[in-house]
Symmetry: C2
Subunit: 195 residues, 2 copies
DNA sequence: ATCTGCATTTTTACACTGTAAAGTTTATCG
DNA sequence: CGATAAACTTTACAGTGTAAAAATGCAGAT
């Protein structure tokens, strides 16, 4: 019995999923500041204290939202990789474009995903949820790792580059004179080649 | 008269500076969540409504804190650049090390500095405050820009790389197996060279 | 020197948020 | 059918930002 993972029982049905959905909507509509336990509860049609039985406070909800966010993040990267040129470097370009697309399409969700800090108590669970998304980047980098090089070095170079570029865009750093994505993506072609 | 910029008059003295100082202390002690108008006021020994006459709400205080933060950020980069090898690439390595040092020494202040988003109403003032810090990076990159290349391309590559690496560190991405800084800094030597 | 004006600060008040505790409803199972 | 537990509501409280009004005290003018 009770085989369906998200059971639709009791009063509301599956409140947990509804709250996560409401939270993601609030984020896309009003940014990180708009994400509130009470507003999520109101959208789901329950009292403001109901979420307490499904999440460990507002941070617990944010972790759950990040879990769903990482799923979408991963999907976006894979979609772009599958749609582009099917060479190792073509796929790397693809996932980086998907990376940027996700950040631009839902910047608040992107912010939530990367809002947990290393000293947080929640960081371990967030890392578990993030692992499949990072694995995409890892797999895509793998064919480009030169023999004798630690894969972590290549992965770190790629992640840092695209992550930093996405953030600099979101912080409005470039203002009117925004560089084209190619300015950064071109550097990808210099990663992992013999010096 | 009234030539001294931050005048020390009236009741408190210069409450504005005291509130900024209190805010920076709160950040380093308790992270971004600990930054509160009321706590800053309490530390400065004034009532909780006093800050309203010096800042435009909590966001106004955050902008002012970011202004001071960018000053310290700039100084940290210049200190590292001046202390290292005095070649164009040596200085670039220096400012990047200073960049990372600042982020690690005061992660919450670093977070505040880069917390304003492009759609914010405050972004223009933040950009003004940030300009001197970014100019350091710009000046350091200048000697490494190949003829015929837009300097913005080189700057963006360098900023994205170090900014992303700093953030990935702070989000605890690497966990136990943290790559050495050299894994990323080494890529700097491939920036701006002929393909 | 005193008085008036004004910047500064305090007091008071209110809405919103997270959270805890106790009570109520309802599904599930014996 | 009744007992039990899960889901949810109600109530309550502390902390936060913010606005408005009242009080304070310095500066310059008369």
């Amino acid at each position: 019995m009770a085989d369906q993972k998200t059971k639709t029982r009791h009063h509301h049905g599956n409140l947990r999923a509804a709250l996560i959905e409401a939270g993601i909507d609030l984020l896309s509509e009003g940014g990180v500041e708009a994400l509130t336990l009470r507003k999520c509860a109101a959208r789901a049609g329950v009292s403001h204290a109901a979420p307490a039985h499904h999440f460990d406070g507002i941070d617990g909800l944010r972790v759950a939202i990040a879990e769903e966010g990482f799923l979408r993040f991963r999907k976006r990267m894979l979609d772009f990789a599958d749609a582009g040129e099917q060479s190792p470097r073509g796929r790397l370009q693809g996932i980086c474009k998907g990376y940027l697309a996700f950040a631009r399409e839902d910047p608040a969700l992107y912010d939530v995903i990367f809002s947990f800090r290393a000293n947080s108590e929640l960081i371990e669970q967030v890392q578990v949820n993030a692992a499949p998304a990072y694995q995409v980047l890892r797999d895509t980098c793998a064919p480009l790792v030169p023999p004798g090089t630690d894969p972590l070095v290549i992965e770190t170079q790629v992640w840092s580059l695209v992550h930093g570029y996405a953030l600099l865009n979101m912080t409005g750093r470039f203002g009117a004179c925004t560089p084209p994505d190619d300015a950064v993506l071109a550097l990808l072609d210099r990663i992992g080649i013999a010096a």
